[in-house]
């Protein structure tokens, strides 16, 4: 099929450019969970780096996560699990002048992995490990990058559907580090390019 066959095609991406704050800041959400939301309260901070190790002061991250029960606030999540009023699971944050970002939320629960089909030996677990889905846009990126934040010392990571698709040596780029002083605080850095480059997914 050629692109001119008359079939509708998804609109092409374009960069957000340097001035996205004008249009996107009204919906910045860095505290995802209000006080009534159930779950383990966490804070995640980090920096975005470019190929030279310089921080990126004009990045915007969007977050999408399940609640602490492992349910997404979306009509297609038909699991028989409670929805938390006041928790949409959406966040949007920008990096500051130092390329730093910060958000607070609750640790997501486990959501289902795809059913195992075909040959035995594709040994992912029926539930995905807790994770936060991330879109990253910056000036210089012609379309978004998609990645995930996982949590350290979580037994479910070893058989997680998505982590198993990543070369073992690179999996650590997706796993946040817990602060030594404060167990509810995590650091997760995002390296767009270069050594220790973050794993990005084609979704």
């Amino acid at each position: 099929m050629t692109p001119d066959s008359g079939t509708l095609r998804a609109t092409t991406w374009q960069t957000v450019g340097p001035f996205f704050k004008i249009g996107l800041a009204w919906l910045y959400r860095e505290d995802l969970a209000d006080a009534n939301v159930l779950g383990e309260r966490i804070e995640i901070t980090g920096h975005v780096f470019d190929a030279d190790g310089n921080t990126v002061p004009d990045a915007v991250l969007e977050l999408w996560q399940a609640n602490s029960q492992g349910k997404y606030a979306h009509p297609e999540d038909e699991q028989n699990k409670p929805i938390d009023a006041g928790f949409s699971g959406f966040g949007r944050i920008a990096t500051d002048d130092q390329g730093r970002f910060r958000f607070t939320t609750i640790k997501p629960g486990q959501v289902p992995a795809p059913e195992i089909s075909g040959k035995a030996g594709t040994a992912w677990a029926p539930l995905q490990a807790p994770h936060i889905n991330v879109s990253v846009c910056t000036r210089g990126l012609l379309r978004r990058l998609v990645t995930r934040i996982y949590f350290p010392d979580d037994a479910a990571n070893a058989a997680d559907f998505a982590l198993l698709k990543v070369a073992p040596a690179r999996r650590s780029t997706l796993i946040a580090k817990r602060s030594a002083n404060s167990p509810s605080k995590f650091e997760w850095n995002l390296v767009l390019k270069g050594s220790n480059e973050t794993v990005f997914f084609d979704i």
């Binding site: 998804a10 374009q14 001035f19 997404y72 979306h74 699991q79």
Partner: protein, 240 residues
């Protein structure tokens, strides 16, 4: 639980490569490692749902956000958000931002020596109606110079951000104007290999939505990924 119905992958060539050297900023920011293919799971086929609390009439008329009207050519930009199968996508959030008529953004880091307009911020948002329609009133943005290469100018454009029904359908793009001579030398407009995909970023002048004695109408339809019929794409096992 029912199997996941994945969204269709982009047709080859219709999206920009991450590294497009003519757009200089992509050289330091586009990843060097190949992306890891991830079949869609419940995490990708769900996405944020925005309710009617975000509907704000003032936010869709960028000429009425200050005490007086902004300077410039008043325009109406409207269209539909649909998927690749032609189905309208109702109740989805559409956000826009743009330069003023002189080509200057109301942003602290825009150093272009063109006047700011105290009556124009350049920010709007709306939610599509039951037929997937949206409509903004604004002024036509000006062209502006940038540092990418000698005598580089961005073609006039309006930034668009659309969510669609899922994390997988997220789209941020730019809308251009028909007949703009700057598009041919604009590396951002030209970053997509497929010419017809590029040309779909150009709005159409539309007499039907032009308001007599008031504002010119431009039509810009936005297409989001369609849905595969099969419940779950074949998975090829372990990492590559």
């Amino acid at each position: 639980m029912a199997p996941f119905r994945p969204y269709r992958r982009y047709h080859p060539g219709t999206q920009p490569e991450l590294l497009h050297p003519a757009y200089v900023s992509s050289q330091k920011r586009a990843p060097s490692q190949p992306l890891v293919h991830l079949p869609h799971t419940i995490s990708e086929v769900t996405g944020p749902v925005f309710g009617d609390e975000l509907v704000d009439v003032k936010a869709s008329d960028l000429t009425k956000q200050h005490s007086a009207e902004p300077i410039g050519e008043r325009i109406i930009v409207s269209g539909r958000v649909i998927d690749e199968d032609g189905r309208p996508l109702p109740h989805t959030l559409v956000e826009i931002w743009q330069a003023n008529s002189a080509g200057r953004y109301a942003h602290a880091i825009d150093q272009h020596d063109a006047p700011l307009d105290p009556n124009f911020t350049g920010c709007g948002h709306t939610v599509t109606d039951a037929e997937g329609r949206y409509r903004f009133v604004t002024i036509k943005p000006g062209a502006y110079p940038w540092q990418n290469h000698y005598n580089a100018w961005r073609a006039a454009h309006i930034h668009f951000s659309v969510f669609g029904p899922a994390f997988a359908t997220r789209l941020i793009s730019q809308m251009y104007f028909p007949g703009d001579p700057l598009m041919v030398n604009d590396p951002i407009f030209n970053c997509t290999a497929d010419e017809s995909a590029r040309n779909r970023l150009i709005s159409l002048f539309d007499l039907k939505t032009t308001m007599p004695l008031h504002a010119l109408g431009y039509q810009f339809d936005i297409v989001m990924s369609g849905r595969d019929a099969t419940p779950f794409e074949q998975d090829h096992g372990a990492h590559r």
